[in-house]
Symmetry: D2
Subunit: 181 residues, 4 copies
């Protein structure tokens, strides 16, 4: 049985302190729950989640994967163990969500919005973390509870905390396994 992968998508650049703290906690809990963490490998939410993962007691080298838009490995944040430089530009967003068993979104602008939409289209479950930050909460907060379209059932799952997001991810992966049996 392969270890399932949680992709973390969210704001790049400098982020609100509460978002950064949540991303870091999220990264740590993902590793502690036995998942591998995959993201776009850059700064902001991605970097905080990778740092949290790296500092988790259960972290082992190889648990943190960064899928970059360019060809230069040096663009990855320092907490990424496995760098996948693609040179694909924005099309790397597809690779990020396609590689995930579950996608967790935290805050986020247009890049995150594209990843939520692409994940939905690919049938990957999406969890949004809703910290009730209003506009700062970005697309993750804005879309929790929403049904993106009718090609599949369900909606973007709402998690109030990183802990709840990881619990939901575990339930979704377990549910997926049962459905495939």
């Amino acid at each position: 049985m392969r270890r399932p992968v949680v992709a973390v998508v969210g704001s790049s650049g400098s982020v609100h302190a509460k978002i950064e703290a949540a991303a870091e906690e999220l990264g740590g809990r993902i590793i502690e729950a036995g998942f591998r963490l995959l993201c776009g490998g850059r700064d902001g939410v991605m970097e905080a989640a990778c740092r949290g993962a790296r500092e988790a007691p259960s972290w082992r080298e190889g648990d943190v994967i960064g899928v970059l838009p360019g060809y230069d490995r040096g663009q990855a944040n320092e907490w990424v163990d496995v760098v996948i430089p693609t040179g694909l530009g924005l099309a790397r967003n597809v690779v990020v969500v396609a590689s995930a068993d579950v996608v967790v979104a935290l805050a986020g602008g247009s890049g995150t919005l594209s990843e939520i939409a692409l994940a939905w289209q690919l049938g990957r479950p999406v969890i949004g973390i809703d910290l009730e930050l209003g506009e700062v909460g970005g697309w993750a907060e804005r879309l929790v509870g929403a049904r993106i379209d009718h090609r599949r059932g369900g909606a973007i799952s709402r998690a109030r905390t990183p802990a709840q997001a990881v619990e939901l991810a575990e339930a979704l992966v377990e549910g997926g396994r049962k459905a495939r049996r």
Copy 2:
């Protein structure tokens, strides 16, 4: 001076009669205004827009471009003049919006949402057609007037009709030219 390109993004599959009529009118007006029309090359809004373009009095062979997710040219609807099979899967959505001077969205589910988000991220102007159809109006209607994130100014432009969408597209292209001078 190259002819500017308008990308049409919107619902695939079977669509509401009002949306189909609007897509067909939109395609015709895009050609009559001197633009080239580019889209994902499949059915639904894409096919109706291509048909409208093909039936426009000013249409010339080569004006209608379809960028496909697969490798099989046969997947293109019959109104596409130039088929670009990419084999890229969902990553072809990036190529669709990157190729556009202006993106016009009509109705649409998760695929359209990803294209609106990617167009925003690439700095391509996006116009949503708002037919006031409610839920059927999809992401184009839902996002008119919205600012996707703060990496650029402005918002998704609202057009009430295909005619207005094409007028806006002309103004945006003209504005872009002046800005580059």
Copy 3:
């Protein structure tokens, strides 16, 4: 019946005078034979072929398509009518050959070699122009007559001149049509 597309692949950058002249003649003959010309949109063989196409008596606006590796339309040479910026980096090489009914190679380094290999893998017929220039003749010359692998029959077709390449392309497209009937 859609107009078939010939993709021209070959050396970028500055090229030998005989190669440039052949590329220009090739571009013109492709258009005169009723094909559309598609290429990577940059300099070298690509630019000379586009220029030849543009100056052909039968050229109509829209006949010359350039599929770029970046997002910036300004990277296209001035003879391209329809610019498809992909932002995909080297992965745009796949789009170039996937869009072709027939691929014609002239000289060329590693990029051209990748395109010949990808075209073969996709089942697109490949014609190499052999000007008997030795090392300068690049991969097109080096691979004429070669069978790339056993997944399909045939070999890279040899053309001694641009005129012969276009004749071969016509025969290959006609043969393909008959095979599909």
Copy 4:
């Protein structure tokens, strides 16, 4: 310091017993030398190399990465630890070589040829294993010692055995590190 990645490219499908044995030995030696192994995740040389890696004494879960052309994780061979489904079709070949510090080629048809060419274009060092099998030896054997083009110095390095290939990979990675200092 991140662990360097060796990409293994080579024939898919059923392969000659000597090639399969060499691929398996290669996979094991890559892991024993402290590299991570990355490949296209499918059958043939890829599968044998992954199996060899998995059975190496030093193997740890996460050391074997497979980058798939489709979206379905189930397409990966059973020895892959980390599956990256891309849905990119042949464009995934670019991701395979872009992710590598060193590329090792063994036998191979058109797909392998495209990967050697793309690796060269990206400046990734390429080692070909030459088992002196003649036609069965494929493009890896055919190109050892060749200079693909003049955009960079050097040539495809020749290794006579998997052991020699891994020694060369170590020297190339060490050389790259010194060059960056």
